[in-house]
């Protein structure tokens, strides 16, 4: 028995009221879906949480029509009036932050510490930020004319944050939206629908259609959608790009990644270790910009790995609602199977696998924090996005080799550089083909900073001034 064992410190579930079933949110009302409903599950226990309506293409059509009708009213409002609604939504999100955070952790499996301290503050900040832009569009340089109806499809890793990234700029610019949340994590989007009503947002400005891939495909394919925004896997991104090709729809894609987190021998080691941990184990590694490839300078490899392993031994895996949990549940059985499969391939191809001793709960979807050493560029686990708490460690000898290896991937979403030498940071950042380059930190987000990828990580930028471009007809 340890001297200082942390007692369970669960956040109360009482703040959330999960209904037995949820409908679609169309034209300001909750309505039934025509498709066969499905269940959303608590990934930490495998318990079903609620019955969710599935939208068919007819339902999606109703939603798009509602958005089209609302577009007339919404786009005609002066920016300063649209801003008032967005500020109101932002404030309600802050007021109901605990409820949203708990619900997010229940439906997604992420630790409450992260949903409380990272997701929710960023969600509110995003709405505040774009609320501020609504009456200043003429200064942004992309025109002031909205596009129309935006069809938005978002992933399960940051359900509410991705909603905010999509909805806030769209609305600020005067567009209306039809949003499809991921089928495994619809609950916070549906609570957001309630918040839209609470804020008296005009009906039809925000419509939320739940469902699986078919529903998303119907949103993307709908002829009256002017703009498609997607965050998710590169495979689905390709399908969407094909579906949109030849139409006059605008498209932005935020897809996968295989980011290099590059640690030089002169790095601040203890902080670099924290950055590596945060880079790959934050949100169970379900992060498109996760630092899933650690590139460490060969001269410090042994010391750094020893420090990393020691630190991994202190990670607390378990109940997402426990305030001391560092790593929560894997979001779905399907994702868990993929992580297991890729990890087995890693072993089979000869990389050395290591995880700290940690007890995983019996029920639910769990995967221990894992590191693979002896990984080469040609290993599958160095090339394919695992989207789980699995780190591949590679080495380099010179800065030029670090750049070469970091860029030698079909992706290009993010990268990290750890060095105490400022000039090297600038030199590296200039050469890394990645949408975001973090220096001496990792996985830092801010609504004022644009985010997006190179190559197979997608195109278009979300966040910041640049994020307005995707929703304006310049």
């Amino acid at each position: 028995m340890a001297i200082f064992e942390y007692a369970p410190a669960p956040e109360s579930r009482d703040v959330v009221d999960i209904k037995p079933s949820y409908g679609l949110f169309i034209n300001g009302e909750f309505t039934d879906g025509s498709g066969p409903s499905f269940k959303t599950v608590d990934p930490a226990t495998e318990e079903p949480l609620a019955e969710i309506a599935a939208a068919t293409s007819d339902d999606v059509d109703r939603a798009v029509q509602a958005a089209r009708k609302a577009f007339g009213v919404w786009s005609a409002l002066p920016g300063v009036e649209r801003a008032k609604y967005l500020f109101r939504i932002a404030r309600i999100i802050q007021e109901r932050a605990r409820e949203l955070a708990v619900l997010e952790s229940i439906d997604n499996g992420k630790p409450i510490r992260e949903s409380r301290d990272v997701d929710l503050p960023l969600v509110a900040a995003h709405f505040f930020y774009y609320a501020g832009w609504a009456d200043k569009l003429e200064y942004a340089g992309f025109g002031t004319k909205p596009l129309g109806v935006a069809g938005q499809v978002i992933p399960w890793n940051f359900p509410l944050l991705m909603l905010a990234w999509k909805v806030a700029p769209a609305l600020a610019c005067g567009n209306t939206v039809v949003l499809k949340p991921a089928e495994t994590t619809p609950l916070t989007a549906l609570l957001f629908a309630e918040i839209c009503r609470q804020a008296d947002l005009p009906p039809g400005v925000v419509n939320i259609v739940t469902g699986a891939g078919d529903t998303g495909a119907a949103v993307v394919a709908h002829p009256d959608v002017d703009k498609v925004a997607f965050t998710g896997s590169t495979d689905v991104g390709r399908i969407i790009a094909r579906a949109v090709a030849g139409t006059d729809k605008r498209l932005t894609l935020e897809l996968g990644g295989k980011a290099a987190n590059i640690v030089f021998e002169d790095a601040a080691v203890d902080q670099a270790v924290e950055g590596i941990v945060n880079g790959i184990f934050f949100n169970q590694g379900h992060v498109c910009c996760a630092g899933s490839r650690l590139l460490v300078q060969e001269s410090i490899k042994d010391d750094l790995l020893a420090a990393l392993k020691r630190r991994m031994g202190t990670l607390r895996v378990g109940d997402p609602l426990d305030k001391n949990t560092d790593i929560g549940a894997i979001n779905s059985a399907e994702q868990l199977a993929r992580i297991r499969e890729l990890s087995e391939i890693g072993e089979a191809e000869g990389a050395e696998r290591w995880s700290p001793a940690c007890e995983l709960p019996e029920r639910g979807y769990w995967f221990p924090p894992t590191v693979f050493t002896g990984v080469a560029q040609s290993h599958t686990i160095a090339r394919d996005e695992i989207f789980g708490p699995v780190l591949s460690v590679l080495t380099f000898r010179t800065p030029a080799e670090a750049v070469e290896k970091a860029n030698n991937t079909p992706y290009g979403l993010s990268a990290g550089i750890w060095t105490e030498k400022g000039s090297r940071i600038l030199w590296m950042a200039d050469k890394l083909r990645a949408g975001v380059v973090w220096a001496n930190t990792f996985n830092k987000f801010d609504p004022t900073s644009p985010f997006g990828g190179y190559k197979e990580s997608g195109y278009g930028r979300e966040g910041g001034l640049h994020g307005l471009e995707a929703y304006l007809d310049g």
Partner: protein, 313 residues
Amino acid sequence: MTTSLADVAASGATLRAFLHGLPGVDRVGADQRAATLGTRSIKTTAKSTAIDLAISMVDLTTLEGADTAGKVRAMCTKAVRPGGDAPDVAPHVAAVCVYPDLVAVAAEAVRGSGVKVASVATAFPSGRSSLEVKVSETALAVAAGADEIDMVIDRGAFLSGDYLKVHEEIVAVKAACGAAHLKVILETGELATYDNVRRASWLAMLAGADFIKTSTGKVSPAATLPVTLIMLEAVRDFRAATGRQVGVKPAGGIRTTKDAIKNLVLVNETAGEDWLTPEWFRLGASSLLNDLLVQRQKLTTGRYAGPDYFTLD
């Protein structure tokens, strides 16, 4: 490490090269790590364990110009029986910490209780005197019965890059300590940068410190969480490199149970539980003790008692 640690202090140049060769500390990252650990939620049984652990680690301190034998005796009574006559007995604190001239009084007052007597020495708090004075003050305190000496480093020498002078002083004071344990106060508020905190920690450990201590309590900021974090990393790495374990004592500014628990979380998740004993971790404080007792009683009875139910010695 290129130089063997025994040879590091052979000259000013080797010492400097070694200390400047230590990995840097990124301020933003260190602050963030300390803040994240500060969000650990320590409740129920864990809180109860932590409170008793914290009480047992307190160096109950009075370092005022107005200190008298009476004041010191009263504090010692409290140190030995912090909870007074409460049926559920709180542990005694680790030590009392006084000026050298009051060591004899304190030693008499705590005799046989298990509470140690610590004394500041070496021209505390500024350290601005000759080595001769520092050594003789140390000898005086030890002769009067001090079990532990809390010395200050010469921050002027450190900041001007004269690491060898700082090293030599610590070695000399350590020799004067004899069997007494030596705590080396870095006064991190004056060292200012985290890189300096790491270097000063290693410098003190290389010179033979049994403990490294953040502050005198006379300079603000005193013991901040990031500084304690960096010192805990230093003792952890030092043990890994040399096999010798060195203790850590944050002092100054730790006033609430919450602060104390955050410190214990830092220890637990940075240096590890080998340091979670009064032998290897201390909290230099005065008013903290009563807050720990208040919270301790709250856990037992479910109610807060008024301040008059806790003694003020």
